[in-house]
C-alpha cells in the first residue's frame, strides 16, 4: 500500500519535471550571452566514458532495504544470538552433560526436579538436566534443518534452472512435478521413516525427497518469465556467456525466492521432526532433539507442575521458527530488485 503510494508520487514528480522541460526547452539557457550560446562546446573524453555507469549495487541495495525493517532486524539479532548460544553453551563453565542421569546424596535419581539454581530448567522424568538437553536438542534439530535447507536450495535451484532453461526437459520435469506434487509430503515422510531405520539421516533424506519440489517450481517459473525479456536478449546478442547471464541477470531475481524457501525449510524440518517423533518413527530417544523433548514433555503435560518439561523446549522452538520466518520474509522482500526503487 505505502509502496504503491510512494511509487506513484515519485512517478508523478518526474513526469511533471519532464513536462516543464518540454514547454520551454530553452529555459536553462536564458541567462547566457549570445557569444556563449554559439561557440562550440569542449568535449571531455573522461565524461564520455562515464556514460551508462550507475552506482547501483545489488547486495548494497538489498542490505539497505533489509535494515530499514526494524522488526526484522530485531528478530535477526534474536536468531543470531540463539544460534551462537547453542554452540557456545557446552563450552561455558559448570554445564551439565545432557545424557548423564543425576543422583542426589543418597544415590536416588533426581527426577522431575523443578527449575532451581542447580538445574536451570529442572530435570526430566529420569533425572537428566533439561537445560543442557534443550540446547543439545536445538543443535540436533537446527543441524537437520540446515542440512535439509541447503540440499533443498542446491537441488531445487539446479533442477529449476534446468527445467526453465532447457526447453527439451520442460515436459519431463512438468510431468514429474505433477506426480510428486500429488503425494502429500507428510505421507512420504511417514513412509520413508517407516521403511528405513530411524535416525538423523533418514529424516534428512525423507524431507529432501520432496523438499526441492516447490523450490524448483518457483525457480522454473521465474526463469521462464525472465529468460526471454529484452534485456536478456540484448545480453545474448552482445555475446554474454550463459553462465554470466544466469549469475548476473537471473540470479538477482531468484535470490529472494531462494532465501524465502531456505528460511522456511528450517522451521518445516524442525516441525516435521517433532511430528514423526510423535508417531513413534522419529529419532531414537537417546539422541536429544527438540522433537524428542516435546514428545517427552507431552507425556507429562496433564500434571500442571511438570508442565515446564514441555514449555521450555516449545519456547525455544517457537523462538527459532518465528524469528526465521520473519527474517526470511523480510529478506525475501529486500532481495527483490523491484523493491529497490525508491
Amino acid at each position: 500500500m505505502t509502496l504503491h503510494g510512494l511509487k506513484s508520487s515519485q512517478l508523478e514528480g518526474s513526469l511533471t519535471a519532464e513536462l516543464k522541460k518540454q514547454v520551454s526547452p530553452y529555459e536553462q539557457y536564458r541567462g547566457l550571452s549570445e557569444e556563449e550560446l554559439f561557440t562550440e562546446a569542449s568535449v571531455d573524453e573522461s565524461n564520455a566514458e562515464r556514460a551508462g555507469y550507475s552506482n547501483y549495487s545489488y547486495w548494497g541495495a538489498t542490505l539497505r532495504c533489509f535494515f530499514q525493517d526494524k522488526v526484522a532486524v530485531f528478530f535477526l539479532v534474536v536468531i543470531i544470538s540463539v544460534l551462537l548460544f547453542t554452540f557456545i553453551q557446552p563450552l561455558l563453565p559448570n554445564q551439565k552433560d545432557p545424557k548423564t542421569i543425576y543422583n542426589d546424596a543418597g544415590g536416588v535419581q533426581i527426577i522431575n526436579q523443578q527449575p532451581d539454581s542447580e538445574f536451570w530448567f529442572g530435570t526430566n522424568s529420569i533425572g537428566q538436566d533439561l537445560w543442557s538437553r534443550c540446547w543439545a536438542g536445538t543443535r540436533t534439530s537446527l543441524g537437520i534443518g540446515f542440512a535439509v535447507a541447503s540440499v533443498e536450495a542446491v537441488l531445487g535451484t539446479l533442477i529449476g534452472l534446468l527445467w526453465g532453461y532447457v526447453r527439451k526437459l520442460d515436459t519431463f520435469f512438468t510431468e514429474l512435478y505433477n506426480i510428486f506434487d500429488n503425494v502429500p509430503q507428510t505421507l512420504v515422510l511417514i513412509l520413508i521413516s517407516y521403511i528405513m531405520n530411524p535416525g538423523v539421516g533418514t529424516i534428512i533424506f525423507a524431507l529432501c525427497l520432496t523438499g526441492w519440489l516447490s523450490m524448483a517450481r518457483f525457480i522454473r517459473n521465474m526463469v521462464v518469465i525472465i529468460r526471454d525479456r529484452d534485456y536478456n536478449l540484448a545480453s545474448r546478442c552482445l555475446g554474454t556467456t550463459t553462465g554470466r547471464i544466469i549469475s548476473r541477470n537471473l540470479l538477482p531475481y531468484l535470490v529472494s525466492v531462494i532465501a524465502l524457501r531456505v528460511s522456511l525449510a528450517i522451521p518445516e524440518a524442525i516441525g516435521n521432526e517433532v511430528f514423526v517423533t510423535y508417531i513413534g518413527i522419529g529419532l531414537p530417544t537417546d539422541i536429544p532433539s527438540l522433537g524428542n523433548l516435546v514428545q517427552a514433555g507431552r507425556l507429562l503435560m496433564s500434571q500442571p507442575n511438570l508442565r515446564y518439561q514441555l514449555l521450555f523446549p516449545v519456547l525455544i522452538l517457537a523462538t527459532i521458527t518465528i524469528s526465521l520466518y520473519i527474517v526470511g520474509n523480510a529478506f525475501a522482500d529486500a532481495a527483490d530488485p523491484k523493491n529497490h526503487l525508491r
Binding site: 500429488n182 507428510t186 511417514i190 517407516y194 524442525i270 516441525g271 516435521n272 517433532v274
Partner: protein, 317 residues
C-alpha cells in the same frame, strides 16, 4: 469445458495409478515382520511359505497388477495385526464417518472465521491504527511459523483447561468436539485470512474501484459487490486444497484426542507395524489428495470465466 474436465480427470487417473504403483514399490521395502502376527515364533521356512501365499515373492509388476485388480473389486486386503484376518475395507468403513464429519465441520468453521478475518484485515489497512491488520498479521506469523505439531498440542493443553472440557474425544458429548474442530480449522482460517487480505488489498487499488468511489458508490457496497467477489475467485481453488490440509492435520489431531477416525488409525497401525493396513491407508490418502487437486482445478475453471479452456494445459504453476 466438458472436454477440459474430461481431459483433466483422465490425467488425474493416470497420475493416481503411477502414484499407487510407486507407493506399492516403496512398501515392498518395508520390514517383513509387519506381515506377521507372530514373527518371532516362526521358522524361516514358515515365513517363506506365508510370503509366497501373500504373493510377495512375485516379481514387482505382477504384484502391482494384482493389487490394481483387487482395488477395482473394492478389496483392500486383510489386516495382519490390528485385527488379524479382518477385511480392511470393513475396518475403514467404520472409521470414515467420524473423520468426514470432523473434516466438514472444521471446513465450515474455517470459512466462517477466516473470511470475516480477512475482510476485517483488508478494511483496516485503510484505517488509522490498523488494529485488525496487526492482530491478524501476528496470528498469521505465529500459526505459519510454529510447527503445527506444537500448536495443536498447546491448543489441547490450554484449551481443555480454559474451557473446562476433557482432553479426549467422546462422540456423544458435543463439547468434546470443540477443540479438535478448532485445531483442525486453525491452519485454514489463517490461510483464508492471509490470502483474502492480499487479494482484497490488490483489488481495492484497481482503477474500476477508484471510479466506483468517485461515482459515489457507498463504501459498503464497493467492498461487498466489487472487491470481495473478485478477490474470492482465486481462493476458490484453495477450498479443496484446504480440505487436504485438514486431512493431513487430522493424522495428528485425531490421534492426539484419540478420535476413532482414519487419521488416528494410520498413526496407530504404523506404531504396531501392520503393513497391509499402512499400505491401504496410504493408498487411500494419496487418492484423496489427487482428487482434491483435481476438484480445485475444476472448480476454478467453473467459477472464473476468464480462464480459457482452449489453451494447452501445462504445469499447475
Amino acid at each position: 469445458m466438458a472436454r477440459y474436465i474430461i481431459k483433466r480427470i483422465i490425467h488425474s487417473l493416470i497420475t493416481l495409478c503411477i502414484v499407487i504403483a510407486i507407493v506399492l514399490l516403496l512398501l515392498r521395502a518395508m520390514p517383513i515382520e509387519g506381515y506377521f502376527n507372530n514373527y518371532d515364533k516362526l521358522s524361516k521356512a514358515q515365513v517363506n511359505v506365508t510370503l509366497q501365499k501373500l504373493g510377495l515373492k512375485d516379481p514387482a509388476p505382477v504384484q502391482i497388477a494384482k493389487y490394481f485388480g483387487q482395488l477395482l473389486r473394492g478389496n483392500l486386503g486383510v489386516s495382519n495385526k490390528y485385527r488379524a484376518g479382518y477385511p480392511i475395507a470393513k475396518i475403514i468403513a467404520k472409521k470414515i464417518p467420524v473423520s468426514i464429519e470432523l473434516g466438514l465441520l472444521a471446513q465450515a468453521f474455517a470459512l466462517a472465521l477466516g473470511i470475516p478475518l480477512g475482510i476485517a484485515m483488508a478494511k483496516s489497512t485503510r484505517s488509522r491504527f490498523k488494529i485488525w491488520d496487526k492482530f491478524g498479521t501476528v496470528l498469521i506469523v505465529i500459526i505459519e511459523a510454529v510447527p503445527s505439531a506444537v500448536y495443536h498440542l498447546l491448543i489441547q493443553l490450554y484449551g481443555s483447561e480454559w474451557l473446562g472440557v476433557p482432553m479426549l474425544f467422546d462422540a456423544d458429548k458435543w463439547y468434546t468436539w470443540i477443540l479438535p474442530v478448532f485445531s483442525l480449522s486453525i491452519g485454514s482460517i489463517v490461510y483464508y485470512a492471509m490470502w483474502l487480505r492480499r487479494y482484497m488489498v490488490d483489488e481495492a487499488n484497481k482503477d474500476y474501484i477508484r471510479l466506483a468511489r468517485a461515482k459515489g458508490v457507498p463504501e459498503g457496497k464497493i467492498s461487498r459487490v466489487h472487491v470481495f467477489r473478485n478477490a474470492f475467485v482465486p481462493l476458490i481453488q484453495y477450498i479443496p486444497n484446504s480440505i487436504l490440509f485438514t486431512l493431513m492435520g487430522s493424522l495428528y489431531v485425531e490421534s492426539l484426542y484419540s478420535i476413532p477416525g482414519m487419521g488416528g488409525l494410520l498413526v496407530q497401525v504404523i506404531k504396531i507395524q501392520d503393513n497391509t493396513m499402512v499400505e491401504a491407508l496410504v493408498v487411500i490418502y494419496s487418492a484423496l489428495s489427487v482428487v482434491g487437486l483435481l476438484l480445485g482445478d475444476i472448480m476454478m475453471a467453473i467459477f472464473d470465466p476468464r480462464i480459457s479452456f482452449t489453451t494447452k494445459e501445462g504445469s499447475r504453476a
